[in-house]
């Protein structure tokens, strides 16, 4: 739970938690409700390609608590057109109007295609979707996404699933400074300390899936990420003191005035 006067809003919706979670890679989807509860997360992304609307049971969506905001994603899309089609299908199937755009045409590194993402965002935002695009931490792409009508920008911290943390830290810092939309660090965060660091920098939220789903104890890891995000946010709001290279006495040059 965040501080009462610290408002986090996307698409006109207020959120209490700045941790977004995912549904992939779990050994058992049945643990998703416990992870959601432990982490405090209110937004959960789900790959539409894995949702089987025709299956009577056994769907991943069966395990997502009704209180969660569903964030369907376009995982599997290789082009802007495929992403748009998947988004429309998600809305037609009752998944709401939030959509996380993922357009990946390189299976070797799973890096997002910025141009295609901008195109899909423009189309879908015009259709009333709340579009959250997953992109490289690139200022120009982010600015185009603002123009295209994105509701947030989701830069990667490191390639998907690598758990390597904030490898793109300096670029994300620039996005935080320059882009007047929520910045949600997505992909690559492998430890709670990584999430904490992103939040301390001023990121508005983080999305974590692999690090939680593949942990030995996903529920406890979910809780740890929830706490880390909260700590990082509080650290950011508290305004950390400036870093210095040397130890710094409180008034080394003017102390004589008090003598």
């Amino acid at each position: 739970m965040q501080d009462m006067n610290d408002i986090f809003e996307i698409g006109g919706e207020r959120l209490n938690s700045r941790l977004f979670t995912g549904t992939g890679k779990y050994g058992d989807d049945a643990m998703i409700p416990d992870v959601c509860a432990a982490s405090g997360s209110e937004v959960i992304t789900v790959a539409l390609r894995r949702v089987d609307f025709q299956a009577a049971t056994g769907n991943v969506t069966d395990h997502i608590p009704k209180t969660m905001r569903l964030l369907p994603n376009t995982s599997g899309a290789r082009t802007a057109d495929e992403a748009v089609r998947i988004a429309r299908l998600a809305r037609a199937m009752g998944c709401g109007n939030w959509i996380k755009i993922e357009v990946i045409a390189d299976n070797n590194h799973l890096l997002p295609d910025g141009y295609a993402t901008i195109n899909a965002t423009e189309t879908l935002a015009a259709e009333g979707f709340v579009v959250l695009p997953y992109v490289n931490a690139d200022l120009y792409v982010a600015r185009d996404l603002v123009s295209a009508g994105a509701a947030a920008v989701m830069p990667l911290g490191a390639p998907i699933g690598t758990n390597r943390g904030l490898q793109t830290k300096e670029m994300i810092r620039i996005l935080i400074e320059e882009i007047d939309l929520p910045i949600i660090v997505d992909a690559g965060l492998g430890r709670p300390s990584h999430a904490c660091e992103a939040m301390e920098m001023g990121a508005d939220a983080v999305l974590v899936n692999t690090a939680i789903a593949t942990a030995a104890d996903p529920v406890t890891m979910g809780r740890a990420f929830g706490e880390a995000v909260l700590a990082g946010r509080r650290g950011f709001l508290a305004g950390p003191g400036a870093q210095r290279l040397r130890a710094d006495a409180s008034s080394p040059l003017t102390g004589f005035l008090e003598g």
Binding site: K25, D28, R49, R50, D52, A55, G58, R85, N107, N108
Partner: protein, 372 residues
């Protein structure tokens, strides 16, 4: 472009001497690399690495968990025709086998599909023998059209097609393709395929590339282990997979590890592959190709499949019949090979859950029905 060109660049290398000359330190070096190269792959397939399987297994298990989590895709093959014009010495569909041949009518395809669908499976691999006149691309399109009603994900394992024909298959609903080179040793390949269109080594070798160029989303390749020297075949299959990954990054490339099984003929493998050897192939290929899906079929017994699962396997067949009509649409034909793990889909799914894995039934669907 052709992978054959890549193979030619190794013509001057005495691969057997190289692979048998690898030492433990070479294996350690390979294990320490983020992206092992072909020389590292030779080390990982060497006898020296064979004595270090536990070390290989630890890293392979870690990589698999990182990239795939605990999700395992389930599918089953659907044999729709066993007519064949090839004389592959190792295959139960060999044209010279006197067994009665059978091909499903579209109505029978529908019956089989309905029965398979009740098991919960959502991905189907359509198989035929190599008899173009009997099961031409038009027939395959019709089969795919029937199956699309029941399954969101359709794969093909049929005779090698042209690029245009692969494009037709995609249009008809095929998401992916499996095609094995059987053995990458051209001389052994010629001996194993003494007659029929499959004799054309180069046309088959280039088939996965033609499929990628046509836009196939998923392409699975591999060798049939037991036909040739397994270390060489595992090396070439892995190299082939990475070549395809590099040339066609938009396609998802998979590997399979089929091993020779008893069949209707009397031929026995000239290069038997022990369980330990199969394990080494799996580990070396996973370490070389961390993102490739790896399939283990019901050619392997239940216990081995379960033990290999965490080491790199991401796809399992389940509820398998290798006969045309084997799912109950009528009298079943001759099996292509004997199944070693005959557990039902629900039994395989229960096994996965017991071991902490999640059976995945659906991982893609065509979205072309949605308004553009």
């Amino acid at each position: 472009m052709s992978f054959a060109k890549d193979m030619e660049s190794y013509a001057g290398l005495d691969m057997s001497t190289t692979i048998h000359g690898k030492q433990r330190r070479d294996v350690h070096q390979a294990l320490g690399k983020e992206r092992p190269g072909p020389d590292d792959l030779l080390a990982l397939l060497s006898p020296a690495a064979g004595d270090m399987l536990e070390e290989l297994a630890r890293k392979a298990a870690d990589l698999t968990l990182r990239h795939f989590g605990r999700a395992v895709q389930l599918f089953t093959p659907l044999y729709v025709s066993d007519f064949c014009t090839n004389r592959c010495v190792y295959c139960g569909f060999n044209a010279e086998q006197g067994s009665k041949r059978r091909q499903l009518s579209l109505e029978e395809v529908r019956v089989e599909a309905e029965r398979i669908a009740t098991t919960g499976l959502r991905q189907i691999l359509v198989l035929t023998g190599d008899a173009r006149a009997k099961a031409p691309p038009e027939f395959l399109e019709q089969v795919l059209n029937v199956l699309r009603e029941f399954f969101p994900s359709l794969l093909l394992e049929v005779y090698a097609l042209t690029r245009d024909e692969y494009a037709r298959m995609i249009h008809a609903g095929a998401e992916g393709l499996t095609i094995y080179q059987e053995t990458y040793d051209p001389e052994q390949y010629a001996r194993m395929h003494p007659g029929g269109p499959k004799q054309d080594y180069a046309f088959r070798l280039d088939a996965p590339e033609r499929a990628c160029r046509a836009g196939m989303r998923w392409v699975g390749i591999g060798a049939l282990y037991g036909l040739g020297d397994w270390r060489m075949d595992a090396f070439w299959a892995a190299l082939h997979a990475r070549w395809l990954q590099d040339q066609y990054p938009g396609a998802e490339i998979g590997l399979s590890l089929p091993r020779m099984r008893p069949h209707a003929g009397a031929w026995q493998p000239e290069h038997p592959v022990a369980d330990r050897d199969l394990t080494q192939i799996l580990l070396a290929q996973r370490l070389y190709l961390p993102r490739a899906s790896i399939t283990l079929s019901t050619r392997e017994p239940a216990r081995l499949r379960e033990n290999l699962l965490p080491l790199g396997v991401t796809r399992l067949s389940a509820g398998v019949s290798t006969s045309v009509g084997g799912h109950g649409s009528g009298q079943a034909g001759t099996p292509q090979f004997e199944v070693a793990d005959d557990r039902s889909v629900s039994e395989i799914a229960a096994m996965l859950r017991n071991k902490g894995f999640q059976p995945v039934f659906k991982d893609w669907q065509p979205f072309d029905t949605v308004a553009a």
